[in-house]
């Protein structure tokens, strides 16, 4: 009797069964192996990967280097035109204000967030820490350059994304040179370091843990050498010339030139007054006995800056016009986008020796566009108390303690503050900035 032996490994069986069945088994094994290895969540969490040094949850050299260049999706743009460039991150245009990008890993304090910031067009870039979401800047803390490069300021965003400033330090930088900005995140507080010089320490921190990000308001900027690292080797020294007056930082400029502090000796011994900080922008201003006086007679607006960038305050002064110059005037400049430019700022001032008070805004070319005025008929021979109360979106004008206009709209929410005098000897006394409104 013939015995028929089945050839299980015939070409037909190989084609129909053995190869596909082997592939099914391989596929299942691969899925079992690859799914947890390749597609399990990799965002560091409090339990899994608290970052205390650069090796814990990020590449050895810190974040944002080779990963950004070839794999930009580790950075998540929230708004703006962001792109990878040379191992860093670049914001390419000056358009729009709220341009942010977040790195998609959560970090636990303590750590230092460092980046070299090189402005390309516009100035105003900065660093964010403690971001609670990859979709918005809510509850994060921001440290950035002021738009004219004359200051650094810091503060936090609330739940709704509204920014509240915590402080400010005047600086001098070469705006096109790379600036190394470091935020030391200690969990409950943070320090700011610029080019190795401590700018401010022990600031209250809204949220320590969270994502880090970059900000580029109306700024084209290149961020390079972006790192989250341990605090080892990143120490703070005494802050440079920063004093707090009721929450607003007012200080002598931190002189910084290409990353090297050249003048950090200007620490003020006595608490400064507002008038200690003035900086003449136009005209000739004389400071004497707690008052400041503009003396040039040309029919134009002369301005001195108070060296303060602010929002939500009451600014008041006793103003004396020039009886010898019937059309002299004086008042305030505020919400100026640039510290030494009138363009974009709002002005409130007495007109024609106190016959009227006028308000409005300087346009982009620096020409004043009046928005309104009121007849006052004040005596030019007397001093008058002029005040403005500036809120989030509007402001009021007070003359001799009486509110004469209420709820005038504001085009912007913050800016530089200064005094303005029109022709003649105009004197400002008791200049007061009250943050309580």
């Amino acid at each position: 009797m013939d015995v028929v032996r089945k050839d299980y490994f015939s070409a037909e069986n190989m084609r129909r069964y053995i190869i596909p069945l082997a592939l099914i088994i391989i596929t299942l094994l691969l899925l079992n192996w690859l799914l947890p290895m390749q597609l399990a969540p990799r965002v560091a969490t409090e339990e899994s990967a608290p970052l205390v040094d650069a090796d814990a949850a990020v590449p050895a050299d810190g974040i944002g280097l080779e990963t950004i260049g070839s794999n930009f999706t580790n950075w998540l743009p929230i708004k703006g035109a962001w792109q990878a460039r040379d191992g860093g991150v670049e914001h390419t245009t000056r358009t729009d204000f709220d341009n942010y990008i977040a790195y998609t890993t959560r970090f636990e304090p303590p750590f230092a967030f460092n980046a070299t910031v090189q402005h390309l067009d516009g100035i105003g870039a900065g660093l964010l820490i403690g971001m609670q979401s990859l979709e918005s800047n809510a509850n994060s803390t921001l440290v950035r350059f002021e738009t004219d490069g004359s200051a650094m300021f810091w503060g936090s965003f609330d739940e709704a994304g509204q920014f509240t400033g915590q402080g400010f330090a005047p600086i001098r930088i070469d705006t096109l040179a790379p600036q190394r900005v470091t935020i030391r995140n200690l969990g409950n507080s943070y320090d700011v370091i610029l080019n190795g010089e401590t700018v401010v320490t022990d600031l209250a921190l809204t949220a320590g843990a969270g994502y880090v990000g970059l900000a580029a308001p109306e700024t084209a900027v290149f961020f390079s050498d972006i790192r989250v690292s341990s605090l080892d080797g990143i120490a703070v020294s005494d802050p440079v010339a920063v004093e707090l007056i009721e929450g607003v930082n007012v200080g002598n400029p931190v002189m910084v030139d290409n990353g090297v502090a050249v003048d950090d000796t200007a620490v003020v011994e006595e608490p400064p007054t507002l008038l200690d900080q003035v900086e003449t922008i136009s005209g000739e201003w004389i400071y004497e006995e707690g008052a400041i006086r503009q003396i040039l007679q040309e029919p134009t607006d002369y301005v001195t800056g108070l060296n303060i960038f602010g929002r939500n305050y009451t600014l008041a002064s006793t103003i004396t016009l020039d009886p010898a110059t019937p059309d002299s005037g004086g008042g305030f400049i505020f919400h100026a986008p640039d510290r030494d430019q009138l363009a974009g700022s709002t002005m409130v001032r007495l007109l024609n020796g106190g016959e009227q008070i006028v308000w409005g805004q300087f346009d982009e070319t620096g020409v004043f566009q009046g928005a309104g005025n009121i007849e006052l008929d004040l005596s030019i021979d007397e001093s008058h108390d002029i005040a403005i109360t500036v809120g989030n979106s509007n402001y009021d004008i007070l003359v001799n303690g009486e509110t004469i206009v209420r709820g005038l709209p504001l085009a912007v929410r913050e800016g530089w503050i200064g005094l303005v005098a029109y022709r003649g000897v105009v004197t400002f006394e008791d200049v007061i900035l009250d943050l309580d409104g």
Binding site: Y17, P20, L21, L39, A40, P41, N74, Q83
Partner: protein
């Protein structure tokens, strides 16, 4: 020349000869022509039309338009899965809703390309080409070569076919689902099971392909849904079970792919059906497809077409729904119950909770395109479909790349 030499010369089974085969040439041309439309439409649309910007409207590669335009809307989820792994945030829209085959293929390809976005586009387009080849073969099997040729052109030029080239799972799903059915029709059950298994880890509707493969096995053994009442059909089935049980056993392993994914989800997030649980975050109302369609259809008639103040993509989705719904009955008659049920499930399941994106969902319901290919023997209809589809494909591509929701 010997007989053996003659046979060898007449049936050269080389790669070159396969590349010259109609089942490769026609899909390749359909691929090249339609991808040219899509690429030109996408590129010109992105550079010529001022795009909208805003929160969440990301640009993965803003300095490379050729790559950037393929990542819009849900693409972000796939890229997030590849880069950061799955995320499951209960009650919030999370990437766990998406299935793993496409991200895995992208991840593996990115190990070669070094760029995730580029890898995604490579996977999408190669999958499309593969899918078209299998679809051609399937259409040839069901109808003839002419129908097969029309079928691949229709699906590749379909108005929403730009999704095949985008960072979306459509083309991968098309490839594995058509391959599974093709092998089932060839009675190569183990191959069919392999692709059905892959289908089940590509999209949830992939389980429907398992159903088609199963129905095909039943049909092979004389049991169909239309003969369910006949005793001889059951006798045939019993005979089939006795003689061909091993193939049925192989077919039954197809859901192991989905089960593997569910095991992973359970281990990672403690919820084996997290992809289903998270659906509530999309705020879809489970009203049933009749109420949903009625709800979405009613405002269409009160919209002002003159001013253009209309929900055009809703109209697109509803048109797609009705086209698929009506065509399913013709599919039942001409191609069988399995194809028809799969088509109906492909539209009715999503339509139970919303009509949104149906114009994209029907893109992978290949029985529709088999039927269109069959109808396309009418010359006027064929011309209308080719011109109409191609124009709409270009237009919708420009809309898509500009961050305007299409489907």
């Amino acid at each position: 020349m010997t007989t053996a030499q003659l046979e060898s010369a007449e049936t050269p089974n080389t790669i070159l000869s396969r590349l010259r085969d109609a089942s490769f040439i026609h899909p390749l041309f359909a691929f090249l022509i339609t991808r040219t439309i899509v690429l030109l439409g996408g590129y010109l649309g992105e550079i010529a039309i001022p795009g909208i910007t805003g929160e969440g409207l990301y640009h993965v590669a803003p300095n490379n338009v050729f790559l950037d335009i393929w990542a819009r809307w849900d693409s972000g989820f796939y890229l997030e899965i590849v880069n950061e792994g799955y995320k499951f945030i209960p009650d919030q829209i999370s990437s766990v809703a998406f299935f793993p085959l496409y991200p895995l293929l992208v991840k593996l390809t990115s190990l070669i390309t070094g760029n995730v976005l580029f890898a995604s586009i490579i996977v999408s387009n190669l999958s499309l080409l593969g899918g078209l080849i299998f679809l051609y073969k399937l259409a040839e099997l069901e109808f003839d070569a002419d129908t097969a040729q029309r079928t691949v052109y229709y699906i590749a030029a379909f108005p929403t076919a730009f999704f095949f080239s985008a960072v979306y799972t459509e083309s991968t799903y098309l490839l594995v689902s058509v391959a599974a059915v093709y092998f089932a029709r060839r009675k190569l059950w183990a191959w069919a099971t392999l692709f059905a298994l892959l289908t089940s880890v590509t999209r949830i509707i992939g389980l429907g392909i398992w159903g088609i493969v199963g129905l095909e096995w039943l049909r092979t053994h004389g049991w169909t849904l239309t003969t369910i009442y006949r005793a001889d059909a059951w006798r045939n089935l019993w005979q089939g079970l006795r003689t061909d049980w091993h193939n049925l056993a192989i077919i039954l392993t197809a859901p192991l792919g989905l089960l593997t994914h569910m095991r992973f989800l359970n281990k990672t997030f403690g919820d084996p059906i997290a992809f289903w649980t998270i659906q509530s975050a999309w705020e879809r109302e489970d009203l049933g497809f009749i109420r949903i369609i009625a709800r979405d259809l009613t405002p269409v008639f009160s919209q002002n077409f003159g001013t253009g103040d209309i929900w055009w993509h809703v109209i697109l989705d509803l048109s797609a729904f009705f086209f698929a719904f009506i065509a399913a009955f013709f599919i039942w008659r001409r191609l069988g119950a399995g194809y028809a049920i799969y088509t109906l499930l492909g539209i009715l399941l999503p339509a139970n909770s919303g009509s949104g994106s149906i114009s994209r969902y029907i893109l992978v319901l290949f029985p529709l395109f088999l039927m269109l290919g069959y109808w396309g023997k009418n010359r006027q209809l064929h011309n209308a479909l080719i011109v109409g589809f191609s124009c709409l494909l270009g237009i919708l591509t420009t809309i898509f790349v500009n961050w305007i929701f299409v489907a």
